[in-house]
Symmetry: C2
Subunit: 334 residues, 2 copies
């Protein structure tokens, strides 16, 4: 069992900044995120997009902001459980919590801070029968470790940045790589689309445009995928893996069952320390709501700071906390 002071659910920008603010109060954080890397939407959906409304940054690329937040958090030695969804929270008799993830990992913490953004992102799935049968047995919706595809037959599906980027990356990894896309043009970056077309022309990948997945088959694990191609012919393709990359759709997910007060799909908190209706469970960032709430990253940063002070008071109700400034002696003194 992992033990920590604050179990932060969500490793987006706001969750990452919570590490820093909690660290200044000598509270340690463990972060859980369903995505395989830190950064939330910024890293997953628009890593190369410039953001203009981070205070003090006239312009910053989303991934650079995440990298900087990680660097800022580093002195406080955060730990992570990535690629696992926080599924259950159990309040213990002593007021502490045990969080259990989708993979059964357990995290024991004094306080929980939900920094879940728009909720956990669930992959959009193609509407095909028997899909669930092969999930984890050849079908996956997210690539955690591309090495599992080395020297395998792989079919990717989709037309956004994620599909394009992984096609480029896996062209040198997989034994055979196909990209299936229902349309003739891509939604992703023109530069990436260009690269994918070049790979297809060079015969390094098999590109199927105006094509749709129709069936999956196998014996225990996935063996065959049927595709309706641009000429309406049914192709039967042997494969080891099928990876539909149709984007992620945000869902509040399991936390709907945790007894938290929810209003319009968001967790109701106070504005003093962003605690929910359950003492010891805080919520910061886009997932919370209160009068005046704006879904801005910079507001989540503020909420992370006040949450940390609230968490401290929850953990040490007797202690008086004085605000110290990092300008005086830097971060090392904390």
């Amino acid at each position: 069992m992992i033990t920590t002071d604050i179990c932060v659910i969500g490793a987006g920008p706001v969750g990452l900044f919570a590490i820093f603010e909690a660290g200044l109060l000598k509270l340690r954080c463990h972060l859980v995120d369903a995505l395989p890397q830190v950064g939330g939407q910024l890293a997953e959906i628009y890593p190369k997009k410039p953001i203009y409304d981070i205070p003090g940054y006239p312009e910053v690329l989303a991934q650079d902001l995440i990298d900087n937040l990680m660097k800022q958090a580093e002195p406080f030695k955060p730990t992570f459980t990535l690629g696992e969804r926080a599924d259950e929270i159990e309040r213990q008799d002593d007021g502490s919590f045990i969080t259990t993830t989708s993979d059964g990992t357990k995290i024991h913490s004094k306080v929980i801070c939900i920094a879940g953004g728009l909720g956990c992102f669930e992959p959009r799935k193609p509407a095909i029968e028997n899909l669930e049968k092969f999930e984890g047995k050849g079908i996956t919706y997210m690539i955690k470790d591309p090495e599992i595809f080395r020297d395998k037959k792989v079919i990717l599906a989709g037309g956004g940045d994620s599909a394009l980027d992984w096609t480029i990356y896996l062209a040198d990894v997989a034994k055979e790589l196909s990209l299936v896309h229902r349309n003739s043009s891509f939604r992703g970056a023109p530069d990436s689309a260009q690269k994918v077309l070049a790979l297809a022309e060079a015969g390094k990948i098999n590109l199927l445009l105006n094509s749709n997945l129709t069936k999956v088959n196998g014996n225990g694990s996935l063996q065959e995928v049927s595709i309706l191609d641009k000429d309406k012919n049914e192709l039967l393709m042997d494969t080891d893996y099928l990876v539909p990359l149709f984007g992620l759709s945000p869902k509040l997910g399991p936390l709907e069952n945790w007894g938290l007060e929810i209003e319009n799909g968001a967790l109701v908190v106070n504005t003093k320390d962003f605690e929910t209706n359950i003492p010891g469970i805080f919520a910061i960032g886009d997932i919370n709501t209160y009068p005046g709430k704006l879904k801005l990253i910079l507001c989540g940063f503020h909420e992370a700071a006040l949450m940390s002070h609230g968490a401290y008071k929850h953990i040490f109700p007797e202690k008086v906390l004085n605000l110290k400034y990092t300008t005086v002696n830097g971060v090392q003194s904390f």
Copy 2:
């Protein structure tokens, strides 16, 4: 008369970020600050100090943060009245406000946003008789334009960074430059102290350590300063200017008389949009107080964002405001 949407009183980091957030809602800002430059404490007191708790900046020099905030505000064309203190606010019949500065400048605005930090900084003055008689007539406590000292006889007093930095700068500007310090060591940066000692050794300045100002004299304007030197001798020095740089002490100042609710030296605001008890007057940053308040720059940024939305609703009570994201089309689309 200057006219604007929001008259922001205080041009520190939080006031500067208000320009950006208001700009996204197409509201224009005019900033007033008693200091001769933007940046508040950061620019005036610790421009070269690293700050560690600005989200996304593992480390940033105070002046660099100010420069970046100015760059971020630039597209929204802010205007400024610097070196003048906001002295009076008059509410007009139509609910708008006229702010009058210490120099008589008048600013007409729909809304007022007080971003006054710890209040206006008033210079600490030496305890000498007749000082007031020569203020503005040879005695000044803040250097707005160093060119007024060109080819003049100047006496600086003090031992902090401000005294050291100006000594180094003015050594090449003034005809004769003296630095009077009551102690034998300096509080300012060791590197600057070293430079000042080197200037004294090279005979470029006249350095009087363990010395104190005792008297000022003149006929209409300042002519002589008396100094008790390290050997307890009374020196009589001819001079055009005396600049005591003994630091700034924060005071709420004139706004104590504006009818605003004050609690422990701070302005009471709500947490929805940081409006004070007077409709149309908002307060953000270190100068306000509410349950959970932390005096952090990053909290002021959040307050600036919510204030801007509150100001918009105050100005356009009928209009519905939808939050737009800068990530979609950048700042130019606003």
